[in-house]
């Protein structure tokens, strides 16, 4: 093999080092491994590519993907397109953030630690909660961890989960619950697109109730009603989300009485990247903090009395508590949390509010235009930047025709909700123009 740019050892280096360890050859380093454990043939993977061949290969793969601006994609459903400021991309490229390790040695990690402390702070302010952790893997695993946490706190074994929560989050929750004896009771959704709370009055053994707001059908849930229903009982209210920008416009989960707020933060400056890496945001009340999973950064001082930051309350975690830990999480999604706080800081309070209003207004424009054009909007509830349209029977053909014109007219819901045939979930963010929306309707009507 020719010299490789990530392997600095020259033949002279190798010879000198082998001499120092008194071994004949590189193969000799493995001589102590039993013969029957050793691999005989070479790895059957492709011959190495030069940097230039790799670029060509990856460009071809990337070039086959349908993305904006070539395609107009009216889809959200847990993955959203928002404009990322160049400043954020630039700063995220700083290799002191990218190639750093977990900040277990705080003296040389103050950059990461202060940034994540700031992330925890802005996240708790956004969600209206008292404390947020340093991130989970995604909205789905965050929900699963939230339910396990609620079960630990309440010491009950059943949880009620709205069927209007993202279907893929619910599937992950089911997978996590499979080996346990915990029970998931599904709450169905009503004709207005919100969760049916009536079964709750007959359930007196619940540990938690989980809803999503805005929910998967785009609708804002009546969180105040739910909080009232649960008042006085030891049942935790878990509010999850997939589009946190909504809280720039609407009341936060904390303002509505949530005990745990968790969900997906990909919207906040993280590229879609076909679904991952994402950002599990997780926040709760201070009284539950010792039961919360995930890393936490706290403020302290050093020997000289100067303010600094450290990982803290580590005894909850796997490296100390082992089998009794609040979670098994080790590596989380720190760099994604960094992207999110950079994005939140870049928008600022004023910008965040304005951007949320703009998303809402563009979505309302499309909703009204579709209604005027005679299409049905089955759910009357307030929405943010997603909503459901019931297109006429046989819309599949139109949908395919639009695909050829490089327009993706929403997400068909029948795959997730068999009763919602011809229903499509559409999403409009600030990246869609009025002209795009007018063109969509024009093309549909053709």
């Amino acid at each position: 093999m020719t010299a490789m740019r990530y392997l600095p050892h020259t033949p002279e280096d190798i010879a000198a080092m082998l001499e120092a360890v008194e071994i004949e050859s590189l193969e000799g380093l493995f001589a102590h491994i039993p013969e029957n454990c050793r691999r005989k043939e070479a790895l059957k993977i492709p011959e190495y590519l030069t940097e230039w061949e790799l670029n060509d290969h990856m460009d071809t793969l990337a070039g086959s993907m349908a993305v904006s601006p070539e395609y107009k994609i009216f889809m959200g459903a847990g993955s959203y397109e928002h404009h990322t400021p160049s400043a954020v991309s630039f700063l995220l490229g700083r290799s002191e953030f990218v190639t750093a390790y977990t900040p277990y040695q705080p003296e040389v990690s103050q950059g990461t630690l202060q940034a994540i402390y700031e992330y925890q702070t802005l996240t708790s302010r956004l969600l209206g909660m008292e404390v947020a952790n340093a991130s989970q893997w995604d909205g789905a695993s965050a929900l699963a961890e939230a339910m396990l946490m609620a079960i630990r706190i309440s010491r009950k074994k059943a949880v009620a989960v709205s069927s209007a929560i993202h279907p893929l989050y619910r599937r992950v929750l089911e997978t996590y619950f499979e080996p346990t004896d915990f029970e998931i009771r599904e709450l169905s959704y009503l004709s207005d697109g919100t969760t049916d709370l009536s079964p709750l009055k007959d359930m007196d053994d619940l540990g938690a109730v989980a809803v999503q707001s805005p929910n998967f059908l785009g609708c804002m849930e009546n969180l105040g009603d739910i909080a009232q229903t649960l008042e006085g009982q030891k049942v935790l209210l878990v509010v999850c989300f997939s589009e946190p920008l909504a809280y720039g416009l609407y009341k936060s989960p904390g303002q509505c009485g949530a005990d745990i707020a968790c969900g997906e933060g990909q919207s906040l400056g993280i590229p879609r990247l076909f679904g991952g890496p994402a950002l599990g945001m997780f926040a709760t009340k201070m009284k539950y903090v010792r039961n919360m999973p995930g890393r936490l950064v706290g403020e302290t001082v050093d020997l000289e009395g100067k303010r600094g930051h450290v990982l803290t309350l580590s005894t909850r975690e796997q490296h100390i508590r082992r089998e009794k830990a609040t979670s098994n999480i080790c590596t989380n999604n720190s760099l994604c949390a960094l992207a999110a706080v950079m994005y939140m800081a870049t928008l600022g309070g004023s910008g965040f509010k304005k951007l949320a209003q703009l998303n809402y207004d563009k979505t309302e424009y499309l909703k009204n235009a579709l209604a005027r054009a005679g299409f049905k909007l089955p759910f009357r509830q307030a929405t943010f930047n997603e909503f459901v349209v019931k297109f006429p029977t046989g819309f599949k053909k139109t949908y395919r025709r639009l695909l050829k014109k490089k327009i993706i007219a929403g997400l068909p819901l029948v795959g997730f909700y068999p009763e919602l045939k011809d229903h499509y979930l559409l999403c409009v963010t600030e990246t869609i123009t009025k002209a795009d929306m007018d063109a969509l309707i024009q093309e549909i009507e053709k």
């Binding site: 590189l26 939140m344 207004d361």
Partner: protein, 485 residues
């Protein structure tokens, strides 16, 4: 000794975000409004979050300054045992930031996402080949989630045999995520002690193994940097009682192209793409924890799986025995892209060479430091070696003191106080991307610190001195937590 790697220099103070800025400043270019404002339901309307308002200059200075307070692989060597802090290739970043990947929605129609589906399919194939197993899932978002997936696979397998089991064997050298992941599946971890050679003995496993044990979680090479020489015998014992063998593949960097994990009797193995396969650590993630299995476990893998129908790739849920999903979508595709690029850049010879040189670097360090620090297991090591602070005890200098001083010399501390079987453990993993010069400088620095331990222990108790912050008060941080501002 010539110049140490670490020195002092001017860096900047920087306040917290909300201690800066002024209301009305902005760093964001608001997109042009082309629709009118619409009224919002008053009952639901909020006031927006209490974020500071900053200018773009504020933001850029803030994060540039913060970044300068961090040690990183791009600044210097990180000999962290079991973390494999190898160099993160920059071409990987170029690939992952291609708009075709970065902007791709995960629920695109399959015909419009062939590029990523192909990449995932090939990635599965390469990892299957590199580990010598039969099938791979890329879905777990980190190593610990890979371990959880492995335990869920164990659970599903035993359930399918109508023989649910309640215990799992965990060696005393295991990483904390092993028993934590097992507990999440309802398994009670049973400790198995390693022998005097630092590895698992067949007798100890035999004593602990019975029909109520779902299997064993091994790490190979183990956390002492030693090859588990009895692994085949251990696997036979576990299999004979109907159990399964899980291997924590965090240390895969020692054996690529050299050992076939499948041949060792391993049934389920997880990998860490952010360790062995060069994806950056990001200050604590994102990582990726693919899981490779032998054929009997394949039906239980998470869905959807990428399938190939006459050259067209598709996502299939047609696996009725699947454990379900651990990730909302398909796993950390952005991390997979980097690891895939790395595998293609190295090729079969490059990966094998990487493992050989990783082991050479560790063996060289072990040879050079073994007089200076206590070496609990004086045997051939693999890609990492473990010392302890026993020789420095007479001077009342601990492992902690010594590694804090190492920062002043310009190196990140190695892994400390792990594995638990070695009190005062110092676990050193240089990786193959460190040059001989940097390794020699590391060795010299460690020797200098050992001399300081003898001649000037107070210096070590007060270390580090050159960093932006000195030792921090972790006690107060835990007693009176301040977790947001």
């Amino acid at each position: 000794m010539k110049d140490t790697a670490g020195t002092t220099g001017l860096i900047f103070n920087e306040p917290l975000l909300w201690e800066k800025g002024k209301k009305g400043r902005t760093a964001f270019s608001l997109p042009r409004r082309d629709v009118k404002e619409h009224p919002v339901d008053e009952n639901l309307k909020g006031n927006g979050p209490d974020f500071p308002d900053l200018s773009e200059v504020d933001i850029v200075r803030h994060y540039i300054r913060l970044s300068q307070w961090n040690f990183s692989v791009d600044s210097g060597m990180y000999p962290l045992g079991s973390c494999t802090m190898k160099y993160n290739p920059k071409t990987n970043e170029r690939q992952a930031s291609q708009p075709g990947f970065a902007l791709a929605h995960p629920l695109l129609p399959e015909s419009l996402s062939q590029g990523v589906l192909k990449l995932m399919s090939e990635m599965e194939r390469y990892l299957t080949e590199i580990t010598g197993m039969d099938a791979t899932t890329l879905q777990p978002a980190a190593g610990a989630q890979g371990e959880l997936t492995g335990m869920l696979l164990f659970y599903a397998y035993h359930k399918s045999k109508a023989k649910p089991r309640s215990k799992i064997l965990v060696p005393d050298t295991a990483h904390g995520t092993n028993p934590a992941s097992a507990s999440l599946c309802g398994y009670r971890p049973v400790l198995v002690k390693s022998n005097e050679r630092g590895v698992l003995s067949p007798q100890a496993v035999d004593e602990a193994m019975d029909e109520d044990v779902a299997g064993i979680m091994v790490t190979n090479p183990n956390t002492l940097g030693l090859f588990e020489e009895n692994i085949k015998a251990v696997a036979d014992i576990v299999h004979a009682a109907g159990g399964l063998v899980y291997c924590d593949g965090a240390n895969m960097n020692a054996v690529m192209g050299i050992v076939n994990m499948g041949d060792l009797g391993v049934d389920v193995l997880h990998l860490n793409l952010h360790k062995t396969f060069s994806s950056p650590h990001g200050g604590g993630g994102p990582g990726s924890g693919p899981v490779c299995v032998r054929k009997p476990l394949e039906p239980f893998l998470p869905v959807p799986r990428v399938v190939n129908k006459n050259g067209k790739y598709a996502l299939s849920e047609n696996f009725p025995d699947s454990i379900g999903k651990v990730h909302a979508f398909y796993g950390n595709v952005g991390v997979m892209i980097r690891a895939y690029s790395y595998i293609l850049s190295m090729g079969p010879e490059g990966l094998k060479k990487a493992s050989q040189l990783a082991v050479l670097n560790a063996a060289y360090i072990k040879e050079n430091l073994k007089g200076t620090f206590h070496l609990p297991y004086n045997r051939p090591c693999m890609h990492e070696c473990v010392f302890s602070d026993k020789l420095q005890e007479p001077y009342r200098v601990t492992t902690l003191d010594m590694v804090k001083r190492l920062m002043d010399y310009g190196f990140h501390p190695p892994t400390i106080y792990f594995p638990l079987v070695v009190p005062g453990a110092i676990m050193i993993e240089p990786t193959e991307t460190e040059s001989k010069e940097d390794i020699d400088l590391f060795i010299e620095s460690m020797k200098a610190i050992a001399r300081e331990a003898q001649e000037n222990p107070e210096l070590l108790h007060a270390a580090p001195q050159k960093t932006k912050r000195r030792r921090l008060d972790e006690t107060s941080a835990a007693r009176k937590p301040r977790l947001s501002g």
